[in-house]
């Protein structure tokens, strides 16, 4: 039971990283990034390709892949997302959705649909004694990285001027511009950062999950549910809901296996009935 709960937290670590990226992008740009799962998949494939073609290992991939994907995300925002932003939100919805399909199929064409192997880094191959049970060291590492990254984002958001501007622009973009802040200047780095987080989650996933072109599409549906449960645009809510949903779905797996696929969505429906703006969401403010 405890071990299953821990599995849930590790699963939640991925949800949290992905939901955090989605939440900052949605909050700041009002764009629901349907390509988020594709960037997660690219993160995993990025580290696979680095190892397979160039012999570059996990630790280097952990740094370079998110960095490169983050830059690609920033470029994407500059070239496309920004141009579509003044139009109906539907255009960016279609754009990111189409982009996800294109990225998936490009990878599929090159590597097929079967999963690629990716070894665990040697330093984390063993197990760790957690007192009550022993646990694979790599999974503990994933959980730790996710907690540290989410914690660091939290500190930046709450304790720095940049964080204050991002919070303000997320809550009331128009008012924030009227108070003399060039919100547009912060949009590109925030978008790139969100994509980098998806890439990081992908790199972390490579050694413990199947690396295949559809890995992102499968996961991202759940992540959308996580973001909705946490409250669209609520940064704290998305992280908290990420870990909570990981935990709930792992325990659900244990006790009601028949519901394992649908539990998250039942939960989402229940939360929305109870609090339409999500657990930590704000009611739509007029303006």
């Amino acid at each position: 039971m405890l071990q299953q709960a821990f599995n849930g937290l590790v699963g939640g670590a991925f949800y949290a990283l992905l939901a955090l990226g989605l939440a900052v992008i949605f909050g700041m740009l009002g764009v629901v990034n349907f390509a988020h799962g594709a960037f997660y998949m690219l993160g995993a494939f990025g580290s696979y390709i680095l190892l397979d073609h160039f012999g570059v290992g996990f630790w280097a991939a952990l740094v370079t892949v998110p960095l490169v994907l983050g830059l690609a995300g920033a470029l994407l925002e500059r070239l496309f997302v920004r141009r579509l932003a003044p139009l109906d939100p539907l255009y960016n919805f279609l754009f990111t959705f189409g982009l996800a399909l294109i990225l998936q199929d490009l990878v599929k064409r090159e590597y097929g649909v079967q999963s690629q192997p990716y070894p665990r880094p040697e330093a984390l191959a063993g197990t760790v004694d957690l007192g009550l049970f022993t646990y694979p060291a790599y999974q503990v590492f994933v959980l730790a990285v996710s907690l540290v990254v989410c914690g660091a984002v939290w500190v930046v958001l709450t304790r720095t001027r940049v964080g204050m501007i991002v919070r303000a622009a997320t809550e009331r973009p128009e008012l924030t511009r009227a108070l003399g802040i060039d919100v547009g200047r912060w949009v590109t780095p925030v978008f790139g950062f969100g994509i980098a987080l998806a890439g990081l989650a992908g790199v972390l996933a490579a050694p413990m999950r199947a690396v295949n072109p559809l890995m992102g599409a499968d996961l991202i549906i759940t992540v959308f549910a996580v973001v909705v449960i946490g409250g669209l645009g609520s940064i704290f809510g998305s992280v908290a809901a990420g870990f909570a949903i990981g935990l709930v779905s792992a325990l659900g797996n244990l006790y009601v296996p028949a519901l394992s696929q649908t539990l998250v969505f039942i939960l989402m429906a229940a939360v929305l009935l109870w609090r339409p703006a999500g657990l930590f969401g704000r009611e739509e403010s007029p303006s």
Partner: protein, 238 residues
């Protein structure tokens, strides 16, 4: 009488605005002199809020000229207008719930030559000092209004654009806001104010523009405002 002896800080000419196909402002022209307090009076839907949004650069579709301190700002994005010295106090007060009271105050950059310092703000608004670490929206309505005013004073804005700061507040708070506006004026700051409360408008402002159906229909001074109070209240439907 419009006080033409004062150099106009703000000069609006032929301003028209639309929401979709509906025209909400029609060729509005007005002037606000340096150091004046001017109110926009008119019933709901007359276009007052739209006019302030046009001045601030938040309105989607509009045409006409907006000269502020001698340069046309009609094509500038909102944040550059703020940096030129426009201080916006929106109709819903615009207090951030994800920012503390102090962060709400320090978010905007300093734009004017003589911005209020934080201690100065806290001395004038002791309630904000007590609650500086609280989320902005944990304040009462009146306190949030004080916060919104204090924020643009700390920016050092030269022209405050206030969208109905007294709406829904108790007479005591309304009196306080009146005192603050007079103090602001003594320091040389200019205010363009939307106000439904004719009585309040006449006690704080120098002049008034009456808006109806997107047009400026009259320019009034305080005496005219007082002698025609009943007629105006009738017109406003209050």
């Amino acid at each position: 009488m419009p006080r033409t002896d004062l150099a106009p800080l703000l000069e609006v000419g032929g301003l028209s605005a639309w929401y979709g196909e509906a025209q909400v402002l029609r060729e509005v022209s007005l002037r606000v002199g340096e150091g004046e307090i001017v109110t926009l009076v008119g019933r709901n839907g007359a276009g007052k809020t739209t006019l302030l949004r046009c001045l601030m650069g938040l309105q989607g579709r509009y045409s006409g000229s907006i000269r502020f301190r001698g340069t046309d700002i009609a094509r500038l994005p909102a944040h550059r207008r703020a940096r030129q010295g426009l201080g916006y106090v929106p109709d819903d007060r615009g207090v951030y719930s994800t920012l503390t009271v102090e962060e709400n105050l320090t978010l905007p950059p300093r734009v004017g030559p003589d911005p209020w310092t934080l201690p100065q703000v806290y001395q004038t608004f002791p309630r904000l000092a007590e609650r500086r670490a609280f989320p902005g929206t944990k304040l009462s309505g009146g306190e949030q209004q004080m916060l919104a005013l204090a924020r643009v004073l700390r920016m050092g804005a030269r022209l405050l654009l206030c969208d109905e700061p007294t709406e829904g507040l108790s007479p005591l708070i309304v009196r306080q806001i009146g005192e603050i506006l007079r103090e602001v004026k003594r320091q040389g700051t200019t205010v363009l104010l939307i106000e439904q409360n004719v009585h309040f408008a006449a006690t704080v402002a120098d002049r008034h523009y009456l808006l109806a159906e997107g047009r400026v229909v009259e320019s009034l001074d305080n005496d005219q405002m007082r002698t025609r109070e009943h007629e105006l209240l009738d017109h406003l439907g209050i």
